[in-house]
Symmetry: C2
Subunit: 404 residues, 2 copies
């Protein structure tokens, strides 16, 4: 926990975020932009200078009087580590205060490993990554951990995620924090990916968007007016578990007719296995979701009609869920991220865009944009890294701040 008080921390954070987003800026301009008194701004800036987060760099435009000293962010002064835990892959990202990736590591995921040794391994991975990068460890503000949901954010634990059922209740954040000595924050991977999209620049001028994340499952991160929407316990955005067939089969999550049963990677692989058994498709399966899905996608893009049809069906069902989501929360942009979109992302993007144009409730008022992620496989880890940096900046807000 930061030593400064919450109130002080947050006005300081807002000023820092404003310096970061609008960069070289004077104290007077900061005062004008925030509506805070010049004395308040000066106190915060003095703290930021002392802590090395910003530097005085050059002189701004004079308005007649004496020239103004301007302030800039000092990117290397703070580093955030992002850790995206998955069944198939685990990804580490080290990012600086400007959101620039300065280190990256991708290793096999936790699979069926027990939590205790798996987390010990992660601590060792973090240590090796930092050693290899030769960075100042005192600049590291913490580790942002992103995992599939549902999670208990306060407890830093996964709570009954279908793909990681044996991790339920295990205190990941606390264990990793003890092993590494770094503070750990904890978040849903789809939420982290949505933040990553913002830092990667995929969201452009949009400040209200949904980032659909399809890895082994389907989730969505929601950003509203530039602010991450966490819900009450960060169990927001379970897009894969909205019902698209109310009279359909029961899902492993307990709900019925979930879209994941019709559109998720597992459902595509199951359908491919059935097609192989019927002799309509020729391929070998590895048992790893990401790899098997990529193999089917390869067949599809090389013209196999059976493989193609599997993705067409998946895309149609996913589009139905996305239209429902847009009708419910009225976003301007849908970003598609995650390994499942790597090969056949354009098919999904096209289908979803078409269905939104035909079926979204408010299509007469506004069009919803659909884009592929700039770097779909790293988005969650980068988002997690920026989440800990974000806590240094302004809690929960992505965009530059107006005190409004």
């Amino acid at each position: 926990m930061p030593v400064h008080s919450r109130r002080r921390g947050s006005s300081r954070g807002k000023i820092l975020d404003l310096i970061r987003s609008t960069g070289p800026v004077s104290r007077v301009e900061l005062s004008e932009m925030t509506g805070l008194t010049q004395a308040t701004v000066s106190t915060s800036v003095r703290d930021l200078l002392r802590d090395g987060l910003v530097s005085e760099t050059g002189r701004g435009e004079s308005t007649g009087g004496k020239p103004r000293t301007t302030l800039e962010i000092n990117p290397a002064s703070r580093l955030g580590i992002g850790l995206h835990i998955g069944r198939d892959y685990t990804t580490y990202i080290v990012a600086d205060l400007a959101g620039t990736v300065i280190g990256r590591l991708r290793v096999p995921g936790v699979g069926d490993a027990e939590p205790e040794p798996a987390v010990a391994r992660m601590a060792s991975d973090v240590d090796q990554l930092l050693t290899g990068l030769d960075v100042d460890r005192s600049a590291v503000v913490g580790i942002g951990v992103a995992t599939p949901g549902p999670i208990n954010r306060d407890a830093g634990a996964i709570m009954g995620a279908p793909a990681l059922a044996h991790w339920t209740g295990f205190p990941i954040a606390a264990t990793l924090s003890r092993a590494t000595g770094f503070d750990c924050t904890f978040d849903n991977d789809a939420t982290a990916a949505a933040i990553g999209e913002f830092w990667l620049g995929a969201t452009g001028d949009y400040n209200t968007y949904a980032s659909v994340y399809m890895g082994a499952g389907i989730g969505v991160g929601i950003v509203i007016d530039g602010t991450i929407y966490h819900g009450k316990q960060a169990n927001v955005g379970e897009l894969g578990h909205i019902t698209v067939d109310a009279m359909g089969p029961t899902c492993s999550c307990g709900n019925v007719g979930c879209v994941e049963l019709f559109a998720g990677p597992r459902s595509v692989i199951d359908a491919a296995r059935a097609a192989v058994e019927r002799g309509e498709l020729e391929m070998e399966f590895t048992g790893t979701i990401t790899t098997d899905l990529a193999r089917i996608a390869d067949l599809a893009v090389h013209g196999d009609a059976t493989a193609s049809a599997l993705f067409t069906r998946s895309a149609e069902y996913l589009a139905a869920a996305v239209v429902s989501m847009v009708n419910l929360i009225d976003v301007q942009l849908v970003v598609l991220a995650g390994s499942a979109f790597q090969t056949v992302g354009s098919l999904y993007a096209r289908t979803i865009a078409e269905r939104l144009d035909e079926r979204a409730f408010a299509r007469a008022v506004q069009r919803v944009d659909v884009r592929m992620s700039v770097n779909g496989t790293d988005a969650a880890a980068l988002g997690a890294a920026t989440l800990v940096l974000q806590d240094t900046l302004s809690p929960r807000s992505l965009a530059s701040i107006t005190l409004a």
Copy 2:
């Protein structure tokens, strides 16, 4: 538009909202609560006193020095008019700055009437209501208009709502403003109802909730961390048009398998007509949705198994949509409001609560509460009235303010 600047208006608004929600409160306490300087607080308070919005009332607790003058809201200093336009009923509410209803009028809805004469009639209704109440018209800050969606909020117009298709594009807000001389704000009725629930006290300590509104259609108003979620064009919360059967029939909205086709009042009435034709149900239809639905509900609560089954089916489908919504946006509370819940609301509340307990993705982490609205038929109009008052207070924020 208020004459004061946006920035000044908003810090003033925050102080006013804080006085309203915590009052009697001293200037020093306001300064401590907001983190604003005492000089800034004093300036805002002087403005508020001058405009009659607050009064100095008595003395607060002394902390050793001289006693502090405390401030209280002056409820009657500002009045808001709420106008909920519906096909079957149109409701008018006059509320004061404390959210107290001081006047109410309910008249037949617009049905198939042309927009121009219908809005002229509304202006005349507003005039008669104010005359009857004998209130100071200069205290009226404006009219909050709530209509079914989709809407174009900026244009103050309905855009292709199935129940009011012939109103598409008609500038309701501008026309009503010209006819009455009052400023008009414009919002989705489900959103307005969600605000009404807050002022009616139905939401208790919850600050993240969804208010499901079922009149002729099905919508939902979403409040996140005490802030109304408007989406980008206020076309949020079209719960009735989320897909519960991706292979189902096309809805009049253009989407497929919408929950409104299986759970909405129209679908219940259509099913009742079919049951009458089959000789399984005995009743007469008026052609008015609200009345016909109430008749079927009466039969159901008096033990008619066929009528009961119609609502059981409707409740099951609505529950599927609500579970999807909760999985997507992680709210703590679902409030049921609107005329359709008047007689058989408890059946819906029970079914939805049971399905949330059995099926919600994060049920292991937290339970979602389900409640009936305190005053389901007035919620949208009251919410619309408080919306214009809210603009006088702090834009878009319902709860007392922390400057964060």
